[in-house]
Subunit: 360 residues, 4 copies
Amino acid sequence: MSFNTFGKIFRFTTWGESHGPAIGCIIDGCPPNITISEKDIQKDMDKRRPGQSKFTTQRKESDKVIILSGVFQGKTTGTPISIIIYNTDKRSRDYESIKEKFRPGHADYTYFKKYGIRDFRGGGRQSARETACRVAAGAVAKTVLKNILGKKFNVIGAVTQLGLMSCDKSNWNDKEINKNPFFCPDKKSVKLWEKYLLAVRKSGSSCGAIIELRASGVPAGLGAPIYSKLDTDIAASLMSINAVKGVNIGAGMNSAFLTGEENSDEIRKSSGKVKFKSNNAGGILGGISSGQNILASFAVKPTSSILNTRETINKKGKNTKISVKGRHDPCVGIRAVPIGEAMLSCVLLDHLLMHRAQCG
Amino acid sequence: MSFNTFGKIFRFTTWGESHGPAIGCIIDGCPPNITISEKDIQKDMDKRRPGQSKFTTQRKESDKVIILSGVFQGKTTGTPISIIIYNTDKRSRDYESIKEKFRPGHADYTYFKKYGIRDFRGGGRQSARETACRVAAGAVAKTVLKNILGKKFNVIGAVTQLGLMSCDKSNWNDKEINKNPFFCPDKKSVKLWEKYLLAVRKSGSSCGAIIELRASGVPAGLGAPIYSKLDTDIAASLMSINAVKGVNIGAGMNSAFLTGEENSDEIRKSSGKVKFKSNNAGGILGGISSGQNILASFAVKPTSSILNTRETINKKGKNTKISVKGRHDPCVGIRAVPIGEAMLSCVLLDHLLMHRAQCG
Amino acid sequence: MSFNTFGKIFRFTTWGESHGPAIGCIIDGCPPNITISEKDIQKDMDKRRPGQSKFTTQRKESDKVIILSGVFQGKTTGTPISIIIYNTDKRSRDYESIKEKFRPGHADYTYFKKYGIRDFRGGGRQSARETACRVAAGAVAKTVLKNILGKKFNVIGAVTQLGLMSCDKSNWNDKEINKNPFFCPDKKSVKLWEKYLLAVRKSGSSCGAIIELRASGVPAGLGAPIYSKLDTDIAASLMSINAVKGVNIGAGMNSAFLTGEENSDEIRKSSGKVKFKSNNAGGILGGISSGQNILASFAVKPTSSILNTRETINKKGKNTKISVKGRHDPCVGIRAVPIGEAMLSCVLLDHLLMHRAQCG
Amino acid sequence: MSFNTFGKIFRFTTWGESHGPAIGCIIDGCPPNITISEKDIQKDMDKRRPGQSKFTTQRKESDKVIILSGVFQGKTTGTPISIIIYNTDKRSRDYESIKEKFRPGHADYTYFKKYGIRDFRGGGRQSARETACRVAAGAVAKTVLKNILGKKFNVIGAVTQLGLMSCDKSNWNDKEINKNPFFCPDKKSVKLWEKYLLAVRKSGSSCGAIIELRASGVPAGLGAPIYSKLDTDIAASLMSINAVKGVNIGAGMNSAFLTGEENSDEIRKSSGKVKFKSNNAGGILGGISSGQNILASFAVKPTSSILNTRETINKKGKNTKISVKGRHDPCVGIRAVPIGEAMLSCVLLDHLLMHRAQCG
């Protein structure tokens, strides 16, 4: 049971609402004696932080992380790391007008049906604000992974589809990703994407996105079949992100269209190393890493909060209409990039620890 | 930690290898006083059973389930239900010739890297034979769900894409699904699919598939945010099935291409009932069921065991070639239908129990 | 895996060190729509709070609880309740002189052996300061239990043995317990205990204690055999408290000396109610509550921090001596009373939720 | 949640009823490449096996273990080890006469209250027959521990109190324990114990026992504070055994009577080794092993099935009387020795794996 906890050995528990005083997370099971600082974590936080361009929500949050426990004289002690982030730019009044209505596409209706009570201020717990905590946990996981696996280990994500706009993946350039407000890996697509997203926003609508993730430097042998497979846990970790509706590992849904020959990535030994001639498996076979790059992608649905009027019902069960004003991302998928990187990092560290538990 | 256990309250643990004496599962947390018999379970087993048509492996297994505990005088007692299925048609000699080689696309290489030992007979534990146990657990889950939710509850799956062949979903007919060897819901596609799959098999290759699942009669309120969301657990349950590489909930990966308006399924009250005007969410909002049908789909990669020769390496790290003879499904995706149904049933029951734990 | 988390459905995770900025806990799985306030929790906190008499440590902590999430407009929302307690009276300098030495009886040596690093300020994470968080979680559990079970439900604890001093249990009076600084249920023993404990403190030593707990109004049927038995979880919950070395259920260790006749508490039906003629079982049979009072007791060893000089080694492995100055309880067992009550409350609520999950 | 599963990484799940066709367990998370055979396990099984002397039940069970999975060519593969033990000497008719009555001291009443159904044949799932599975799992754990820690690792248990009869612990001799039917470590007590237990049995009654356990060769550093402390898990593991009512670690309940000086086992470095001058802590400080011997003891209540007539009620709630005939141990505590050893072994292995997960 783990309603608000993720992971098995390296575990994090998140808490807090969009418009409460603060949000935070407890990281448990972190290996001891790892050098870590608030600054290390902040770097990742800043990648997810809202209000950095006109393409994200204008809510201004510094998302400053404060470590309250588990780190002593700059090093992890092996005890729980408590991280708190204060909410500083709340505007709960934005939600007064819709507090009796269920925003379609949001979880207003389902939270109310489940709990018989809901925090209407910015969606309360259902808000994607919770994901800031995941990024903090992911930053810790990445630091530990680099400490154990060395610098060859890396996790990188990018937006490869912005609504109807794709990018040219043959132009993929890792260095380009952080240079544009879309985490787009193809420099040539950026201008078009700007135009497109501005148009979407002006029209009072929103759009979805596809994010691709790649982890390199992951050793073979991680993943615990049958029900803690590496791909199972990656799928769960990504599907748990707000607004995600689909997850692929390697060729993903397109696997259905491959031939048996294409699908079975051939194996070669060359210069003393095991090499695969393709990577349709996304680096995972039978739920265990093969030493290839781990490849995963996921789709984020369009922001549900849109200006254009939609039909809905209110708490009393009466038909009504709604137009969601306030500050919203025209495409929440963009800020899902650092979240996806964080979740993948947490899963990989968790499996590394699990592997050394059973296999030494 | 749950290497070989699935679920949180309604849990099942599976054991056994493809060519060992038997396989089985222990179901724990099952509500007491539910009428259940081996016959009820057998019906579902027979849907997954191999050797029933020329389109599946010719291994002949009766897959007869025997209940060893947890049922007294025809009723569940609330204690563990142990189910055993003997392996009766093993041909381990089929694997002698390839016991030193890693079959590409299979988990031979990764199991060996992880554990330093592997059972080469039919893949041992990595074999999809394990999924027979899931179907048994799913049959129990379905029986309990019908007992609690009534007859309106149902889970149904179908193959909607067989390799390159799609079907016409506007012809979907539930009753058609079990009448053809492909679990195809569109009668008109069956003949073409037969031709196609025979050709694939004759060519020494294999193909993938997409399976769609629908659960109806599921009440609103199931699903425990943030890290036990209903969609998170469905994604994990399906991704854990052998050869699955992609999972969609509702519009899934296609969510990226929707407009904000399309995405936010509008809500109406009519004739005293809450109705949604569309179901792009697949019946799940914020990880909680909305009362709509639960819609999920998943892609199964082509069978990795193919006659056509592929390059690989052996245990000593030498380059070699492999052609996998023996008895294999030309499309393992077909038999994934009852497995998907079983996993979805287990997740739904687990969440129903979880919900009544927290919310009464 | 739950290094810093307790419970299965109603779960709490604690964090923080004795001399860090704060300590706290996250309560997950709490039923929604329960009225709760910081004031309700504070009442229990005050029972454990140090510095209230000359018989406890003179560290002055207000132990003021602040709820940061999970409660909206005075009611639980079903989402994580985050509670923070700031440390206000730290005196880390007290520990400078012993920071290289391992205090015998404490976990200094074992933490260092395990993690290769330790927070020497007041023992860091090993400090019983952590138990303040348990009391907060227990206060929430008790509130929920009273909401579900009604006012007949109650948990009460008392010290029945203070070092070498017993009390006369035939004088047990619930109302007396909170009127003296020892939580002693026998008014007549209080004066003697005062003299005794002052003498112990003056001598530079410390003493142990036995605490007895009683839960009334617990329905029959709670407890999940085989490995989540009610008594198993009570034993674990109490043994996890700092300095506890023994746990009894009902007759406990003395069960060894009973006859078969005495042991098997006879059952009678009278005035329409099931009554037991004795309660050696402590209200639990086969791990399941019988409807009788739940009876548990536990022993707390003497405070390990004593003035009298003891032999030990330092971090470099050299033999040395130690005398622990600073502020310490002469008998930590006293303040274990509210902690024991809290743990028992958490276990009972957890099992009540588990029971309604499986058995409706 | 783990109704019928014990452990965190090294986990076992048991199933089966006293009078069903078989009982068994699934061991998950076992390290791979460990040499193990049915014979190794059988040796421990035979220690617990009934019918070996006139001082235990006359039910004749060979308790022959059969490994169904997880071992390939004599070695563990890292996948689930399924063990089955057939019930061969059932006499369900013995229970016909009492099937409507609740045996006092047994869990008949509580199982019925919880589940609304119970298997009356020998108590069904509540029977101590389940503990045979624990011994099998413990034998696997011990084998793995010896493989990792070397021959210096050992777990040994003995009965030190048989009803009212104590033994002289200063005569403790490990080699004596398996030479008498009581697992008594003091040769001189055996004759007296024989007389005593025969008298107890003849009188139609039964008696309790205290069992002491000692694990040697356990490295410092095992145990995961706060809620997976080594002593917490040992307490849980022992309290989960049928009829156990009290658990002590080290000085246990007697800790209450120690002085602060006695309690804080002094530490010395001599001949390059860390030595403690006493072991009141039972080898555990702050929930972490210190490198000393692990010492635990537990009390088993008298057998509840006795010939002498007791008052009780039946399923209809009517007052009645009961005298339990059939085959029963006059002191179930005796056969608890190998069970205690098994549980302690499982906990130690589990913590060793957990430790290497977090701390490498």
